[in-house]
Symmetry: C2
Subunit: 215 residues, 2 copies
DNA sequence: CTCAATGTGTAGTGTAGACTACACTATCTT
DNA sequence: AAGATAGTGTAGTCTACACTACACATTGAG
């Protein structure tokens, strides 16, 4: 009786798409700046222009809007992270290029904001967690694992669980830095500092992971 | 005019301490299970017994209660992580012991709950972030860095920034695993799986970090 | 005994905010 | 021209909840 069917309307008309995007843009700005719980749907409509009814037509409810915006955003962010042409580079260079690109993205204030909101809301909205992970961090890990896989096939590195290895590399890259920025305990590191970190990590990782494991 | 002075009352009487603790216990259970925003102060009083007035006398407001409970908790959790006697072990064993202890703590549902709540609330309550970091993750990193420092003094490993190195090791240890558990995307890993992870990380780390860096 | 501090219980107050109702308009298609 | 489809705008309902007020109990010190 009272299942209002949260609409997932594919926008048919051009005008519709514009209005929908305007709502998503406003939601993004406000949610990331003030937090999901602190922003009212009215605030969003005020920011976007347009009308409350439209918001509900498109997204069904506040959660629907939130999920749509997270999905759009995590896809967009990580779409710009490509592993193009990385196979032609020496390993060190490859890891460094991927590493610095990733680090910059991840330390970006917008990405941090999304992370905070997803962590905060995921216990109440489990689908959100998958949406975010598969669209973002999970994809990066997979891309790196694929790279390792190709190298293994070419006998360029010892065989092992490529996904786990990718996770380890990414973990050491972010390390404490991510938490420190998530909690805003220090100001953002400079580009130079990030490059130094990446170099250090890639170096340590290569020594550790590429050697034959013959014990 | 309207600064009600969030009290930080040191409880004078024994009865007072009991009531205060009961409130903190209830707050902990409810906040960690449902989230700060979803729990009302009335819920907490209902759970703790006692009265709303007492809550406000002790903590001033809802935020005060939250901060008191986070502080108590993050201290308690990491207090049980000791680096006792680790200097007498071979490095591999030392890293493995510290690693497995830490991993178990960090993957524990209570610890994850605190992490989620702190991440969620820290933008609105910055002091919280420091409280948590310095009482928890920061202390662990420092303890590990101190250990490295001692080894460097004894020429047992090449000199370098010990704090950064500690961060790298801890980062690779947690890697994706932490996020996956924070978002509840997979069920908790078995003790055996954690041990395997620690071994792998310690091994990779030692190969990479302990070798002389003569380039 | 008494008085001061602390705890209890109830019953508000004020506000914010998610969601709905409804009457109206713009656009497009055939 | 007509009617379907989508957007607008306002006003309102209903509920949840942080925080306060106030009158009453308990305890313990001197």
């Amino acid at each position: 009786m009272s299942s209002p069917a949260p609409k997932d309307s594919p926008p048919t008309t051009e005008r519709g798409r514009q209005r929908r995007d305007a709502l998503l843009d406003a939601a993004q700005r406000l949610f990331l700046e003030h937090g999901y719980g602190q922003v009212s749907v009215n605030d969003i409509v005020a920011q976007a222009g347009g009308s409350l009814s439209t918001l509900y037509r498109h997204f069904g409810n506040k959660e629907g809007l939130f999920q749509a915006m997270i999905e759009r955003r995590s896809h967009h962010i990580y779409d710009t992270l490509t592993a193009e042409g990385v196979d032609e580079l020496p390993v060190e260079a490859a890891l460094q290029r991927l590493g610095i690109d990733l680090l910059i993205k991840v330390m970006d204030e917008e990405t941090l904001g999304i992370y905070r909101e997803v962590v905060a809301e995921s216990p109440r909205q489990p689908p959100l967690a998958r949406l975010f992970f598969d669209g973002g961090p999970g994809r990066v890990r997979q891309a790196l694992a694929d790279y390792f896989e190709r190298r293994m096939q070419r006998q360029l590195m010892p065989a092992c669980d490529s996904v786990e290895l990718a996770g380890i590399f990414l973990g050491m890259l972010l390390g404490e830095w991510h938490l420190i920025r998530v909690l805003q305990l220090e100001s953002p590191p400079s580009r130079a500092a990030m490059e130094k970190r990446v170099e250090r990590c890639a170096d340590l990782f290569l020594r550790g992971a590429m050697a034959d494991r013959t014990e």
